[in-house]
Subunit: 408 residues, 2 copies
């Protein structure tokens, strides 16, 4: 099996981390900012050294292509993103782009040509920190989000995507939605599972389903000092019971069901007023669509039951439902074959976070390769990964992509 | 037994309600505002018609005195406040002042003199809506709050009490903390108990103890999509269990124990982030000091136990403790005797809200007379009371004050 040059990859990661470096060791390269442009230019300079050609599409997605023996075939694409959170880390996204670069460098080192072209994609505004939604570039490329709508989206300063693309020089002409043979995205896990299990590589079988609900519970606000307990309609006591029941719901759907109440707001709250209206969000996740549906039904049922029992009015609205995204069997097999042949410890894993690969999976055969991140920490300046894991993940990517690129 | 003129009292209440009237039928007379001054002037004009003398102390508390046969004796004082919440009602405070006025009018009508002088007090800034804290004027009069400190307190526009008093013409010279024979405050209940029990009068035996705690629970913030349930330290799930246990605590101390979680904040909350830090307030009330101490101990114990079990860090700080305020036995007996002799249905009740009488109880023999308010509603433009209850409460005040004023 081929090996990549882990030290070179690490060096490139550390060089990229100097672009938009933050005080506490993290990175700030907001999408299409001067820092993001500088990061892209550094990447492009490395690609040009390899003789790769550069293309940019109309939403600023950047593609670096290495020719294949058969230029008529669609490319095998690797990639991720170079933009970061305002206080982001050095690996989230960047790893997938620079591992792709290291794959091409390794192929060149070893004089290996491929049947199909190989590309590295840098997707625009994956983080959603400057322009909402996240994964914007890949959504436009895969036509999940119409181009014109995306171009009109404005950042907090009122600057539109269109203006930001023109200002940064990344308003290109490459057509959207052109054919890919396959898409492979290497990424840090952004969770603690691989580290907890002591494994350097995760074979990603898909993205989990996500159901977001908005719950609002209405009781009667009243004076905390003058209202006897039996005469109260305390919305927060109702919500307390709901939260306890929702924690049990997660146990009922263990180990794959995830339940999070991330936001909770008491309307016009004061220390000595009985809460009259409480709103909270509910984030449900599972890797199976039928299970997410069952979780949603159970959550709705328990919320309404508790509210009704207490004489509280309640509304439960579905804010968003994203179905499970199974990745492509052949791509997963290519990754599994690579990691097994390399002899690296690994496990199957489902992606808990959103990634450009989730959009790409609707466009072409897709999968991902995960490596651990220290403490499961991400979207944080302290985000970190171990050089050995960085290296092993790239070896897996190299061999999986090579096999795909030569498969006729 | 004497009766007051309920119709006249109601008319005065409705005339006062025209001063600072709000669109939705409520009142806005913020302390020492032009509206508050106009309300005071209307009251003073009524008092002058009765030949009463007017005095103002250095924090703007206003006293209207009717002479007694023995001018050397300290006065029996009735009163409350004329200031309101920004969207306040027509009865909170005003009823206590104008019921006092009706008592004097009734005594005059019936040619009754008293041994001791009788006064009506209008306390400054009871609501705390313009200047914090609430019950400011009575706190200064009873020397709970030093005058100089109070004069320096500023409103939201940066205007100090001192400036507001000078601008309104209510910076007087009457000494603070002068002797009172007794203090009687009539007030709407601001809770639902009397209405729920169908009773026009409450014999108020004291003010309950209040314990305010600040709780902060610290877990680990993490990604809602990538963190398996067993690896989470979800601060909000811990708080959910605490809220459920605190609701049970109220049952353990039923019927007098009151428990309210009025405010809750998730630090840096987002829909798909596991809450890392949650702060909430806890309001505990009971009419007995030993029971409030037991409630606080139980609350602390259950909060720490739940946090510890879950591996969450927790802090519990006491924000404020106000001991129970037993009212004066002789004053309570005077009210009870009056209501029983009048034959009005009544019950003993503990004041759940703060009142000027709570401060006065530390200065002189004190009690209160409650009447129901519709739906228990207060601090609301829709605040309402029934004319028959308004009248009966005033009858009770009249006879209680008369007996006290003639008791040598």
């Amino acid at each position: 099996m081929l090996k990549s040059n882990g030290e070179r990859l690490w060096d490139s990661l550390m060089q990229m981390a100097k672009v938009g470096a933050t005080e506490n060791g993290g990175n700030c390269r907001l999408a299409l900012s001067a820092e993001d442009r500088a990061g892209r230019e550094l990447f492009v300079s490395w690609c040009r050294e390899l003789g790769m050609s550069i293309k940019v599409d109309r939403i600023g997605n950047l593609f670096a292509q290495r020719e294949g023996r058969n230029g008529a075939l669609p490319p095998v694409v690797m990639g991720s993103h170079l933009d970061t959170q305002p206080k982001g880390g050095r690996f989230d996204g960047i790893y997938g782009v620079l591992a792709g670069l290291e794959v091409v460098r390794s192929l060149r080192d070893q004089g290996i040509e491929t049947e199909k072209p190989i590309e590295i994609a840098v997707w625009t505004n994956e983080e959603g920190a400057r322009f909402t939604p996240a994964m914007l570039g890949s959504a436009v490329f895969t036509q999940v989000l119409p181009l014109e709508k995306a171009l009109a989206i404005k950042d907090a300063d009122g600057i539109s995507m269109k203006e930001a693309l023109e200002q940064s020089g990344y308003a290109g002409e490459e057509p959207l939605a052109r054919a890919f043979d396959a898409y492979f995205e290497a990424h840090i896990e952004q969770g603690p599972i691989l580290e907890d299990n002591g494994l350097p590589v995760g074979v990603v079988t898909g993205g989990q389903a996500i159901c977001w609900l908005d719950v609002e519970v209405q009781g009667v606000p009243a004076h905390a000092g003058t209202t006897p307990m039996p005469l109260r309609k305390d919305a927060l006591f109702g919500v307390g019971e709901m939260i306890a029941a929702l924690e049990q719901l997660a146990r009922d759907f263990a180990p794959k069901g995830l339940v999070t109440v991330g936001q909770l707001n008491i309307a016009r709250s004061s220390r000595n007023t009985i809460p009259g209206r409480v709103a909270f969000t509910l984030d449900l996740r599972h890797h199976l669509d039928e299970e997410i549906a069952a979780m949603e039904a159970s959550a709705r049922d328990l919320i309404v039951t508790i509210a009704t029992k207490r004489g509280l009015a309640v509304s439960v609205e579905r804010h968003w439902l994203s179905p499970a995204t199974p990745f492509d069997d052949a791509c997963i097999a290519a990754v599994r074959n690579a990691v097994e042949t390399l002899g690296y410890p690994h496990q199957d894993i489902v992606s808990g976070a959103g990634h450009d690969a989730i959009h790409l999976a609707r466009h072409c055969p897709t999968t991902m390769v995960f490596i651990p991140c220290v403490g499961g920490l991400s979207h944080n300046e302290a985000e970190d990964a171990l050089p050995d894991d960085v290296s092993k993940g790239c070896d897996v990517l190299l061999n999986a992509v090579l096999s795909r690129a030569n498969r006729i």
